[in-house]
Structure formats: structure tokens, C-alpha cells
Symmetry: C2
Subunit: 500 residues, 2 copies
């Protein structure tokens, strides 16, 4: 595999560094025509799943907030990374990453003093100019601004996560959900992290998109997950905290087995399993995914158990795509304490602050992982094997030539497929070039209208992955395509095979 | 009509003031379970239209940007409103709005001195405490922050509009569009305006959503719009700048007539007409909409022609839902000047900076206008008559009772309708209450699974607007509902009528 994803992403308009004409700023990317659609499909897959299958309420809160919720959540105090600036050129360095890069050690959670000692002892210098590095200090990654004019202004923060903006209206949501637990709430939107020195494309952004679902529950009553049976036989690769302590390797287990062996709860393993199903729908290679439990010294102090799904990237190594965490009653408890508003609920006379199990997806990382997983090389041909549910376009429609009324006929097919609810693209030009272009866009099916279309009332349907072509009645196209996409019809049986 | 939209919006979870537990901050609203879905439907209607019918490229750029593009665009210098603070209590007042409120005059564009004179002459005081108002001053409405740490930090801005974030990558987009004009680009996302004193709910927000489509063109070649014929006979209510100068009233004209009488171009009138079509699809009453051309002294200096679509709100009076403006080559020209990057294109040897015609929708205002237009009272019954394409849910599925296996059967119908691509809600409880709740949510159809469902393989389908009920075969539901929603089947003909 020698496909450079960043190259193809720029050339084909998936994404590129933002503000290029003014000199790019690290940690900001713009999604182009193909990438923005891929991202929308991925967001829709996640949102639809949590709304329709997990019965979550959907909400959309502001990104810009006052400071209060972030004082309560602890972000104002401790949403920090360690920064070391070069004493000569001023270049900032994220201290733990610098150590990891230079010494190949795990520096997460190391103290300021220990990091400084390691830097000095190993004579690590500025990566830009070779200058001496200053002392490391805790650098807060919240973006702050002011809301309102003059003397009335208050401090504003760009949210570092969607979660707190879902917790704040908990009382309203609980009323709207008719005071029942468990209650799930999903929110998809932008979040911000003023990274010290982001240099990894979509993997480390200062402005990124998240999909977070919070499940509020009674910790005594809701120990079983109602849909656990559906996933319990799913096989997964797992690295538990116990195995990591023993420096062991990941093992294959079933979702049911993880719970049976008391590594975690039904809720956490169910949410991990469904995230794996969603990643597969996005076109992310399941063989490159594993579940990793946070070690005791790595987990946030208020979390009783946290797991990540990790993707093994060719370019970036292990990257976390989603985190699932038991957050106890910490968040609602803190908001109750700081806002003086009651977050307790009363269910059948039992009064308590609900506990939260949270599933927190990045969106940009799955977009990248789907691209890396789906990039295929077949001789000279490069294509993305996105599943039809995730691909930017599902179908491209072309006229064989740009004359003799074929474009008008092709446009009618385009309109028909659009009206049937598919994501369709119309294009025209040299047919070989059009196919090439759609391969690079990951479009699973191409439809060509030719001179015979008028007489045989048929079109040529081309399959991206094996380039097979079949002749299909024009009127039957929506139905045939729907059946192929849902696995109810094999492509080769969709019509007369024209070309292998 | 005595339905209080804000009341029902809060009670039923459409939207509410954000951060309530910490005391709300003016200009921020949270969309709840129903409102966030309504907003998503409205965004999808707009996005799908511009992508599939106007062949726009879709992009998604960061909200947080460096300052440079806003220096070029002029926002850093002149994105201002006039603020007057109370000398006693410090309360800020937007000076022109204060004059309009107190004196019922049009204060837009009035100078600082003239405003101050009017305030003193009419002895206008602080609306909060009655104190003396200070001198008005130009207050910049950009939200600013810092990006990056330490000495390396640069000024960051929350974008006041999506437009400039579309102009910046123009060269890339032009390449991706294969160097053809006209080229359309659509972007939907949040924008920010640090309003002085916002107090009008969704109508005046500090954080709001926009959908802006920019059409780049050759001003010499692209004088005709290719799809103008489709809309030219549409009748619309119009207030031209000429009529306004003569203090005249709006007149009814056709879209073709507006162009024939040289009030504006085919492009502008086409974009206005299609926005009216979209507003109708959202459930906004067409009789409450009109086109209003900006007067010469009201228009931005670089725009050669600007029009708004105005909605007549019961609560807020005239509100602008969308603006369509000929922006000439101003934006690209300024970015060329400030970034020193060429924005000129070369089409058949003709070298020029493309001109832009822009259509800029707010999203929050159409959400509100759709709710106000659709709110209906029928005796004691209150319902939203949202069209199925815009309603938060299209179908609600209930079991008649919560026992005897009916919930499981209803859940199967729910799954079937979900898989068919509808937006479906499952609920259970007292059937009358469930209907009542779905009326208030604007759900056009309810399906009830009852004791007869097992034997007659049918369900009861209920129409929101007239409460008619018909009996429909369960298997036929997806097809029947699709036909009813697309106007191909009358509700009363969908099955045996049970109840008028």
C-alpha cells in the first residue's frame, strides 16, 4: 500500500489545510466537496443509529458558552498540556510528545519535574532551531473570548467537548423524556482544543467535530443492557488493564466474554460493540481496530472505567476513534454543586443523581480512518472502497458523449435517482477519465447513458470494486441499486454482464 | 391565533435559552429533541437543493480563523453597531434599535452625532434603570481569541459569516470544479455576532447557523440563468427600491416581470424565487413572504444590488430570512490584494476576477418562521402543520396498549418504517395523550398497532391535520406513506376510513 492519503485528499478535494492563502495555521482543516459529504454521511450514520436504535434524544447546544460550566467540570483548572518554549526562537513544544518522539517512551502523566529532568539528561533541544528549551509549564487549552459589550461583558469559552453542554440542560431533557431512566442524549458538533503544536492533519485538530452520547441511568437498577444479547457473540480484539499491567498482548474475546470475566459492564461493552459495527459501516477495516481499557493511573479520577477503540494507522500509528467511559455521578454532581440547581431525580421514591455512561466519538479521525482503510490499488487504478452508506456519492451518472441529446437523457436519469433518495453526481467528459475520477472519489456505482439507451430503454451500470458492467433497464435502476446496496442482489445478477 | 411559540417551544423541547442553570446569557439558544431535528430537516432541504438542483460544491470550513481574512473583508474595521451604555447601571443599548423602539422611526445608517442628538432631544433614558445614557460609540461585533501558546500565539476570530471561509479556498475549488464558470459553492455552519443586547429569541442570536451559497461567474458571459424559465411565471410580492423611494407599497409581479422591468438580473430573481420555493417546503406561509430590494443608501458599498426575503412575524414584525446580493468582484479582489495570491481566472484567454452572486440564509429564523406559520389551533387542539419533509418526525408508531405483545409488534412496524428511510418515533401510553403530543410535535402521521393487527394484518393510520383515520395493510405502509407524502395519493383513499 503506497497511497498517500494526504496527497489524494488535497488533489481530489477531500480536505486541505485551512487559510492557505494567508499561510496555514496548524490544527485547522477545510473539508472540500468530497470530504464534507463523507463527513456528513459518517455523522448521519452515527446520529441515525443513536436516535433510531438506542432511542436517544438529539440536541444541539451552542459552542460558545460562559465560563461557569467549565469551572464546574474542572476544565478551567486542569484542561492542560505541558508546554516548553525554545529560549532562542520561541517555538512551542508539547513536552510529553517531544519525549515520546525522542526517547520512544510513554511520557503520559509524567510530572513537570520528571519531564524537565529527562529533557536535560538527554540533552533534548528545540526541534526547529536547536536552541535550549525553557522550563515546562501547564498550558490551558481552552479558547477564551468575551461575550457582550463594555462593563457587561463576561468571559466566554469555546467548548472543549460537547458533553457539558448536554449535562447543563439535564433537568429539561429529563422532563422531555418523561422522567424515565435510562435516558440517552446525542449531540454532534464542533469542539475546540488550543493544541500546543498540532502537526498530524485530521488526527490532531484545534477545531474538531464530535458525536457524544450520554446515557443517564440509575446505577442500581440499570446494570443490564436491554439489547446486550444482540452483540454478545461478537468477536473483538481486547487489551484489558490487567493485561497491560502484565505487559501482555491483546487477546480475542467475545463481547459477552468480556463481561463474563468481569473486565467491564454490559453497558460499556455494548456501546463498544455498537461503535465497532458503526465503524465497519463507515468502511473502517475491523481488523485494524481493538478495544483498549484505560489503566488505573491513566483514567480520569472520577471515572470508574474507561475504554477506547483504537485504529492502527499506517501513517499515524495507534489513534483513538471513540472513548466509552463510566463517568459516575461526577458531572451532574459538580453542576449541582456549582449552579445550586438540583440534578437529583426521584424514581419510585428513590432519590439520586443519575450516573452517566458516555460514548464520545471524534468525527475527523473516523473520516481519516475510513479513507486509509478504503484506499485500494489495483494496477494503476486507485480507488476508495467506501460502502454505499458512507461514500460521498453513491452513484455517478454520465452521458457517453456530450452531444446528440445524451446529456439531457442522462440528466433525467440523474433526476430520477436523486428523487429516489440516492446521493447522485452528474458529470460528462471522456468516459475513461470519468470512471477514473469516480474511483478516486469512492463512488460505488456509475451509470452511463449511451446511443442504445433510447431503443433498449437500458443503461450501463458499472461496479467500482471489480469494474464489472451490467446492462440494466432504466426504469428498474432505483430498485436494482437499492437491492445491490442492501445486499439483496448480487451485482453480477443485476443484468446482462457486459465486461468482466 | 393565540399560540405562544416560545411557550410551546420550551414545553415541548423545540428550543430554550442556553445555560439556564447558570443564568442564561442573551443570544444563545439550545435546540432540544424536536427543534434540533426540525433544524436538521431545514438544513437538509437547503443543502440538498443547492447540491442536487444547482450543482453546488459543498464545503465545511473552520469557524475559528486567523484575523487576516476579516481585515481583507473589512469586518475588523466596520463590523460594528452603535452602543450606548447607561452611565448609572452600565446596561448596554443598541442605539439605533433604541431609537426605533422609542420613536418608531427608521434609524438604520444614522450617524453617531445624529443619534446622540435624537436621544438627548427626546430625553431617552436607560430602559433598565432610567439613568442617563453615555455617548454612542462604534462597537465591533467580532468575537476574538488567541490561537497557539506563548509568543507564537496569533489573534483568532469566530467567523461573522461563512462567506469569507468559502472565498479563501476559491483557487482550490475552481480547480476541483475543473475551471468552469459559473461555479456554485454551498456551506452550512455556525457564525457569530457579539450583539450588544439581544432579546428576540431565535431572531437575534450571538451564535447562529447560516447556509450560504456563492455563485462565481463571468459577469460578461453569465448574464442569463440557465434555469430561469422554470420560475419566471411565479407570482411574488415585491417592494423595489424605486417604490420605497416613492414611499409606495409592495406590488404583485412575476419573477419574469421583475427582470423584464429591469429591477434586477435573472440570477438574483432566480435565487429569490428558489428560496421562496424552499421556504414553502419548510412550512413557511408564502402569503407572509415578500421580496424587498435594498435602497441605494442601505446597500453595502461594494454590492451592485441586494434583495431580502422578508417574513411578516406576528411577534417580531418584519424579519429577514435570506439575502441575495450581487457582490461584484469585491471579495475575491480584496483577498487577492491582502494575501498577494492570484484570484484571477483565465477562461478562453479572458483574464478576470470572478464576480459573485450570493444567497445567504439564516437557519434559526426559518426554523422560527416555520413554527409560527405552522402553529394551528382547532378547538382545544394545538398542532404544527409542518410538511412531512420538514417535520421533526414524519411518523409516530404506538401500540394501543402496553401489554399483550402489542409493544413488540409496534416496534417491528417502527423498525420497518425506519429501514424504509422515514423519520420515525416510537412511543407508548394513553392513545389520546400520544396523539395530542404528536400534534404538538407536528408529526404528520401516527400509526397504531392494535388487537386486530395480528388478524387483519393492518394498522390504523391517523392524519394530523384533519384527524382522519384509515385502516392500512401493515406491509403496504411504506409505499402508502411515500405516496401520501409526495402527493400521489390522497389520505382518504389510502384505506378504509374509520373516523372523520
Amino acid at each position: 500500500m503506497t497511497i498517500n492519503i494526504m496527497d489524494i485528499a488535497k488533489r481530489r478535494g477531500f480536505f486541505w489545510p485551512s487559510f492557505e492563502i494567508y499561510g496555514s495555521v496548524g490544527g485547522f482543516y477545510t473539508y472540500g466537496p468530497l470530504g464534507s459529504l463523507l463527513k456528513l454521511r459518517i455523522e448521519k450514520l452515527i446520529r441515525d443509529h443513536y436516535i433510531t436504535k438506542e432511542h436517544c434524544l438529539n440536541i444541539e447546544a451552542p459552542i460558545l458558552t460562559p465560563e461557569d460550566p467549565w469551572i464546574a467540570s474542572g476544565h478551567v483548572e486542569s484542561f492542560t498540556d505541558m508546554n516548553m518554549e525554545c529560549t532562542k526562537c520561541g517555538e512551542p513544544h508539547r513536552a510529553d510528545h517531544l519525549l515520546e518522539e525522542k526517547l520512544k517512551i510513554d511520557a503520559e502523566g509524567m510530572s513537570l519535574n520528571k519531564i524537565l529532568a529527562k529533557i536535560r539528561e538527554n540533552k533534548i533541544k528545540c526541534t526547529k532551531c536547536g536552541g535550549e528549551l525553557g522550563e515546562p509549564y501547564d498550558y490551558n487549552m481552552m479558547f477564551k473570548t468575551s461575550i457582550g459589550p463594555g462593563k457587561n461583558k463576561i468571559t466566554g469559552c469555546l467548548r472543549p467537548e460537547t458533553a457539558q453542554t448536554t449535562y447543563m440542560p439535564f433537568r429539561r431533557l429529563f422532563e422531555l423524556g418523561r422522567k424515565k431512566l435510562p435516558m440517552g442524549v446525542i449531540q454532534i458538533g464542533r469542539s475546540y482544543r488550543n493544541e500546543i503544536s498540532p502537526r498530524q492533519g485530521l488526527i490532531r485538530l484545534r477545531e474538531f467535530s464530535q458525536a457524544e452520547a450520554q446515557f443517564f441511568m440509575d446505577p442500581k437498577a440499570d446494570t443490564r443492557h436491554p439489547r446486550f444479547g444482540r452483540v454478545k457473540n461478537m468477536k473483538v480484539r481486547v487489551l484489558t488493564k490487567g493485561t497491560q499491567a502484565k505487559n501482555g498482548k491483546e487477546t480475542e474475546m467475545t463481547i459477552g466474554g468480556i463481561v463474563a470475566k468481569k473486565h467491564t459492564t454490559e453497558w460499556i461493552s455494548y456501546l463498544l460493540a455498537t461503535s465497532l459495527e458503526l465503524f465497519e459501516k463507515m468502511g473502517i477495516d475491523p481488523k485494524r481496530l481493538r478495544l483498549r481499557q484505560h489503566k488505573d493511573d491513566e483514567r480520569s479520577f472520577y471515572s470508574s472505567d474507561t475504554w477506547d477503540v483504537e485504529f492502527m494507522s499506517d501513517t499515524f500509528g495507534k489513534i483513538e476513534l471513540v472513548g466509552v467511559a463510566a463517568r459516575t455521578d461526577y458531572d451532574l454532581g459538580r453542576h449541582q454543586e456549582f449552579s445550586k440547581q438540583k440534578m437529583e431525580v426521584n424514581i419510585d421514591g428513590n432519590i439520586f443523581i443519575p450516573h452517566v455512561v458516555e460514548v464520545a466519538y471524534g468525527i475527523d479521525r473516523p473520516v481519516y480512518a475510513a479513507m486509509e482503510s478504503s484506499a485500494k490499488k489495483d494496477g494503476d487504478r486507485v480507488y476508495f472502497s467506501f460502502p454505499p452508506e458512507a461514500s460521498p456519492y453513491q452513484i455517478a451518472v454520465f452521458p457517453l458523449v456530450k452531444k446528440d441529446g445524451l446529456p439531457e437523457k442522462a440528466m433525467k436519469v440523474y433526476d430520477m435517482l436523486n428523487d429516489a433518495g440516492f446521493y447522485v453526481l452528474y458529470d460528462q467528459g471522456f468516459i475513461g477519465k470519468l470512471y477514473y475520477r469516480q474511483d478516486e472519489a469512492g463512488t460505488p456505482f456509475c451509470v452511463t447513458v449511451d446511443y442504445e439507451t433510447a431503443s433498449d430503454k437500458s443503461v450501463t451500470l458499472r461496479n467500482r470494486d471489480d469494474q464489472m458492467q451490467v446492462r440494466v433497464k432504466t426504469d428498474a435502476l432505483p430498485d436494482v441499486l437499492k437491492k445491490i446496496m442492501t445486499g439483496k442482489l448480487q451485482f453480477r445478477k443485476a443484468g446482462k454482464v457486459l465486461k468482466k
